[in-house]
Each structure stands twice: as structure tokens, then as C-alpha cells.
């Protein structure tokens, strides 16, 4: 009989404790982020798809069209092309496409690039209906960054 009463009392007490916790939470401010309306700054170590770095001094890309990123990529995502204009010493980048459908974000391309011309972007709002939407023209993105 004593045990029976004890059980009822302690049980009831634990239920009240539970209710107290939830009501406390009820009045605390919400902690969720209302995503499409609010966003947090992305952490610096986030790996989005790769992107050409815009260099202030050169007013464009640092890429020297050496092609090592293309070679380093295990999935053959990168296509680089360049040409040497008449009289110029260095090649100029004319095409840099990334096939993001195959990219595993391994980062080998970024590591292999000696001038540091490519880096991970912070892009994460990526969704689409077609494969072609994920073949990025990074040179065009760079032009867009310029303006």
C-alpha cells in the first residue's frame, strides 16, 4: 500500500516536471531559422562547386591555362581551353566549364592549381530539372562577378 501510494505520488510529480519543462520551452524564443526568408552566412570551409577566383590586381582570373586541374580531376569534370593572342607571352583563358553532375567535391583541382585560380564557391541553392543546368560556364560566372 505504501509502495502503491509512493508510486502514484512520484509518478505524478515526474509528470508535472515534464509539463513544467515544455511550458518553459513554449515561452522561450524560437531557435529555428526561417530558411527561404533568412539565411546564415556560410562557413568558410564550406565546399560548393568550384569557381574561378576574381583577382583584383589582374582585374580577372589568375588562371594561366596550364591544364593541371583538368588532369588532376578524377572524374573529368573540367574542360579548360586557352589561346595565345598575337605577340602575347601568356595564354588567355577562353573556356572553363565544370560538369558538376560528376564532381565529387574532392578538391584535387583546387590543390593542383599553382596560381590559386580556383576555389570552392559558397553556392548551395542548387536545384534543377535537367542535367544541362549543372554544366557551369565558370568563365561566364567570372564575368558576372566583374560587373
Amino acid at each position: 500500500m505504501i509502495k502503491y501510494t509512493q508510486e502514484i505520488v512520484s509518478g505524478t510529480w515526474s509528470l508535472i516536471v515534464g509539463l513544467a519543462i515544455t511550458i518553459k520551452y513554449f515561452f522561450m524564443p524560437v531557435v529555428t531559422l526561417q530558411y527561404p526568408h533568412e539565411t546564415l552566412p556560410m562557413t568558410p570551409r564550406y565546399r560548393g562547386h568550384i569557381d574561378l577566383v576574381f583577382d583584383e590586381k589582374l582585374g580577372g582570373t589568375k588562371c594561366i591555362v596550364c591544364g593541371s586541374c583538368q588532369k588532376a580531376c578524377p572524374s573529368n569534370c573540367i574542360t579548360v581551353a586557352g589561346e595565345r593572342p598575337e605577340g602575347a607571352k601568356l595564354k588567355v583563358l577562353t573556356q572553363f566549364t565544370l560538369d558538376f553532375t560528376k564532381c565529387s567535391l574532392c578538391g584535387l583541382c583546387v590543390e593542383s592549381c599553382a596560381p590559386g585560380a580556383i576555389d570552392f564557391s559558397k553556392e548551395y541553392n542548387l536545384a534543377g530539372y535537367k542535367n544541362e543546368e549543372f554544366i557551369f560556364d565558370l568563365l561566364k560566372r567570372l564575368e558576372a562577378k566583374k560587373s
Binding site: 511550458i23 520551452y25 513554449f26 515561452f27 524560437v30 531557435v31 529555428t32
Partner: protein, 330 residues
């Protein structure tokens, strides 16, 4: 030919009740989702309309546009009848509930009895729907609902009998009028009649949760084990009506608790009694019902039956005996 004013009065009440039930069913879902959200420190619905206030309308429209499918092998008549059997008694219970001094559709002398008579049809509706849909989960759910309701009807009615012994009437309006004055006159604090009155209120409240199949006693739905229990096969508005019936039953249950224990439309300080006090008390109880749902996990089926047979029934009977002894002595 002139229409008798009584007919108009009843028509107005009929419309009022149906509107009240429909609004409550819609907006209690909203309240439930908001409250659940804030308890989990989220916001809850917020996109459809200001504060998500149009969300219930959107949900209702979605349910209404769905095809009503009767599953193969189901008993079509029972299957279609069941949601109505759950909804109708819930609406009919409102007929005798006094919301204010004059705001009562029909002041029956056996009001309390009528409400409990209607409330017991609810189980029948769930049972028939589950049985008629020819689904194993639904049938397990039906078996649970019935045994759960048998178990919880006993302590609930014993508590009510105790209360009727004190009040000496089954008329809900009279019960409210007896509690006039201030909150110390409410039945829940009537310690002179029985020192266990607050306990009786808690027992009543627990039984009401179980009777309306609310968490932590929602064995009829038990999504994690029975998919949706009795509602598994119901599409579109068939499910919607069950859902509305559930919320209507909560409103009835909390209204009865308000009337029997918390003094109905009486003011706690004896000032300005009226329908607003009824609403405040009722919605506070509904808030508590939702609060409880988002605090406790679902009990096991044995835990649920043990609670009733081993704890609630003995205590309620003890209270009954104690009260009758006290009534005899004093």
C-alpha cells in the same frame, strides 16, 4: 402565418453550434500546430496567411478535393456511416451545454446524462469504421478503442456520480448556478463535500483525454504501430470528418469539465459572469490538452489499462464512498 419564435431560436442555435464546431475543429488544428511548434521552439505554420491563419482552410480544401475511395472488400455502408456517427453525437452534445446564463439551446433536466449518452456513440463510430474498412490495423485499433473506452468510462462516470451526489441535479445549468460566487465555490475546490475534489477533477480530466483518444492515450491512432489505426483506409474528407469529430469531442469534453468543476460561465471573483469566462476556462483546458500531448510520449496499451484499473478506478470509488460518508455526516 407567423413562425413561432422558438423555432427561430432553435434554428439560430443550430447554425451557431455547427459554425462553432466547424470553426473550432479548423482552428484547434491551427492551435495544436502552433503550440506544438513553440513547445519544440519552432514557429509552426506561418506561410499561408498572417501567422498561418489560413492554413486550416488550405488543408480543408485539399481534403475536399480528394476522391472518396471505398476500399475493395470493405463494407460500404458502415464505411461511409462511421465518420457521420463520430461527428453527429459530438454536435448533438452541444445542444444542452450552457455557455452563458441564457445562452443554452435546450436546458434539459437530464443534460449531463444526455451528454454522456451521446459521447458513448463516438466509440461505436470508430469501431464500425475500423471494422467496415477491412484492414488489419484498423481492426486492432478498434479492439483497443473499445477496451480503452470501457476502462475509462468507469472512473469518469464514478466521478460524475460523486459530483451529482453533491449537486443533487443532472441539469447542467443548475450545476453552474450552484457554483456562483467565486472560485472557492467551484466544485473543484469544494473540499467540504470531499477533500478529494481536486483529485476527482484530475481523474475526470485524464479520463476525458482517454475518451477523446488524445495523446498520451491515442492508442486508436498510434501512428508508429498502426499506421493511422481506425482511419487507415479513409481518404479525403472521410478522414477529415473523423478529424473534426475528434476536435469537436475535445471541445465537448473540456466544456463538460468546465461546467462540472470550474464553474462554467461564473467569474472566479464573482464579477461579471458571462460567456467570456466559459470560453477562457474552456480554451485554457484545451491548451492544457494540447500541452499534454506534446509533453508525454504515447503509453503502452497495458500501461493505459493498468492506470485505469489499478489507480483511477480505486481512487474514484474511494472518493465516492468518502463523499457519501461526508454527505451523511455533515
Amino acid at each position: 402565418m407567423s413562425i413561432h419564435p422558438e423555432v427561430l431560436r432553435l434554428l439560430a442555435f443550430l447554425l451557431g453550434i455547427i459554425g462553432f464546431v466547424a470553426m473550432n475543429a479548423a482552428y484547434l488544428v491551427w492551435l495544436e500546430r502552433k503550440e506544438a511548434g513553440h513547445i519544440q521552439r519552432r514557429i509552426g505554420p506561418k506561410e499561408v496567411g498572417p501567422f498561418g491563419l489560413l492554413q486550416p482552410m488550405a488543408d480543408g480544401l485539399k481534403l475536399m478535393t480528394k476522391q472518396l475511395i471505398v476500399p475493395e472488400g470493405a463494407d460500404a455502408i458502415l464505411f461511409k456511416l462511421a465518420p457521420i456517427l463520430v461527428m453527429t453525437p459530438a454536435i448533438m452534445s452541444f445542444v444542452t451545454i450552457p455557455y452563458g446564463e441564457t445562452l443554452v439551446p435546450r436546458n434539459l433536466d437530464v443534460g449531463l446524462l444526455a451528454v454522456f449518452a451521446f459521447a458513448s456513440v463516438n466509440v461505436l463510430g470508430l469501431l464500425l469504421g475500423a471494422w467496415g474498412s477491412r484492414n488489419k490495423y484498423a481492426i486492432i485499433s478498434a479492439a483497443r478503442v473499445v477496451s480503452q473506452n470501457v476502462a475509462y468510462e468507469i472512473p469518469m462516470l464514478v466521478v460524475v456520480v460523486t459530483l451529482v451526489m453533491i449537486t443533487g441535479t443532472l441539469n447542467l445549468q443548475d450545476i453552474v448556478i450552484q457554483q456562483a460566487g467565486g472560485f472557492w465555490h467551484w466544485n473543484v475546490f469544494k473540499l467540504s463535500a470531499s477533500p478529494l475534489m481536486p483529485v476527482a477533477f484530475i481523474i475526470f480530466f485524464i479520463c476525458m483525454l482517454a475518451e477523446t483518444n488524445r495523446a498520451p492515450f491515442d492508442m486508436a491512432e498510434a501512428e508508429s504501430e498502426l499506421i493511422a489505426g481506425a482511419f487507415t483506409e479513409y481518404p479525403g474528407m472521410g478522414f477529415g470528418v473523423f478529424f473534426m469529430g475528434e476536435y469537436a469531442n475535445i471541445v465537448v469534453g473540456t466544456s463538460i469539465a468546465t461546467i462540472l468543476f470550474l464553474g462554467g460561465w461564473q467569474c472566479p471573483f464573482g464579477l461579471f459572469p458571462g460567456v467570456h469566462w466559459f470560453m477562457i476556462k474552456m480554451y485554457f483546458l484545451i491548451f492544457t490538452v494540447i500541452w499534454i500531448r506534446w509533453t508525454y510520449p504515447r503509453t503502452t496499451f497495458y500501461g493505459l489499462l493498468n492506470l485505469s484499473w489499478k489507480i483511477l478506478i480505486p481512487i474514484s470509488f474511494f472518493n465516492l464512498i468518502l463523499t457519501s460518508a461526508m454527505l451523511k455526516v455533515f
